[in-house]
Symmetry: C2
Subunit: 218 residues, 2 copies
DNA sequence: AATATTTTTTAGATAAGTCTAAAATATTTT
DNA sequence: AAAATATTTTAGACTTATCTAAAAAATATT
């Protein structure tokens, strides 16, 4: 039985590993967890004792097989709860994260598997992120930043890089949603802002926004 | 923001208060919480500092207005989650308690009020216990032990005194359920065992079982 | 290669929650 | 009312998770 804190560290290490496959640095974990490097060192030593990470002084850490399984199960719970909140309790996608941060630590295999079934085994969460199944498997989809598309190219919005409430609400306001088919009409050479078309609507987004929208190119 | 531990103590004190209205003793809390009296003293001092209980050395404790409100809100969450697990996720009533013990500490007013609405504002949980509403109000029903009924008297099973898994499963086996109309056919003078009728079925229960069944007399 | 800077670890402190053992107080029995 | 017993509190220790400040190691700069 792991503490909430241990589970949160494992999840953070997992997410950092996805970005840069080499050893996860103490500082990168500290930044993600909004804590001090010394606290991270303490925790990495503890997780190493429990064989959940492979850790060598000054070399950073990597999740072990066991640690990785736990991280994925926490992520599974987080995303299933987010899906429940949106689908069943009518939360909007910018309201679910903090509650899911708490719910992801509830310990009950029966609970999470029943929830999974109740939701009809969803594979994608409200933010477009894949939901691992009971065995930890999930879909890996090819995706590129919208900012890499050329003029007249198309893409389906799969997920987003920035999941802050502010960005989610920006997308709501602009009526940009997961699953939308986005057509790049033109790119302004001066500031790389993009004129695009969703359905019949035309709108303009900045390069920064385009960097945070991940699409499947068509 | 209270810790899980503080919330659990408040809930325990509340439940003990319901049984004996006078000051709640340190030992009674220790017994309920399965902890040591010294730990209880520490916590009572802390809760008194936070004005959640009224506490005088060697005199035991009482919940303050504020403490009582929090205790009731934790109970509300516990019972709504139990109802959710049974109604929506097909848990049986002997499987919900431990999970609800965890879920009752999730902090989100929007979550619990949405859950309440999703369940159509239930007033009774799977064990027959009343569910406080958003304002902390709940139905108080007149109820007596089945063992106090005389021969040929009737009662509706409202709730139970013993909520252990074993007793719940005993009731399932005997097909005795909350809401059943129970007819006391005869009482054996020797051991006070009771012959009763539910629907068309006749069955016998011991006095001990009858002590743990609370009915509304008809 | 030596120096400066950054990163990481260690040492020591603090807070929450628990425990055991001993002391203080209250209650019951004689 | 004194003695015996039970209850409650205090004192001191331990664990987990965090922090600050200092030391050690790694990396970057000159
Ligand atoms: Mn999230
Ligand atoms: Mn998500
Ligand atoms: Mn319960
Ligand atoms: Mn219940």
């Amino acid at each position: 039985m792991l503490s909430f804190s241990e589970e949160n560290y494992l999840k953070a290490i997992y997410h950092i590993e996805q970005l840069q496959a080499d050893g996860v640095s103490t500082n990168s974990v500290a930044k993600k967890m909004q804590t001090k490097a010394s606290s991270v060192t303490d925790m990495l030593q503890k997780l190493a004792d429990k064989q959940l990470v492979i850790y060598k002084k000054y070399q950073g850490a990597l999740l072990s097989e066991k640690g990785s399984k736990i991280a994925i199960s926490v992520i599974r719970k987080h995303r299933l709860w987010e899906t429940f909140l949106v689908e069943k309790l009518n939360f909007s996608w910018d309201e679910v994260h903090d509650v899911a941060e708490q719910l992801e630590h509830i310990q009950s295999e029966k609970l999470i598997d029943s929830l999974d079934a109740y939701l009809k085994f969803p594979t994608i969460d409200p933010h477009g992120d894949p939901i691992p199944d009971k065995d930890g498997n999930f879909v890996q989809r090819q995706k590129v930043k919208l900012s890499t598309l050329k003029e007249n190219e198309l893409g389906i919005l799969l997920t987003i890089n920035d999941s802050t409430d502010e960005f989610l609400r920006y997308l709501d306001n602009k009526k940009i949603a997961i699953g939308d088919k986005i057509n790049v009409l033109s790119i302004e050479p001066f500031d790389k802002s993009i004129q695009l078309k969703i359905g019949k609507r035309e709108l303009m987004i900045t390069e920064e926004v385009a960097e945070n929208l991940l699409v499947s190119p068509l």
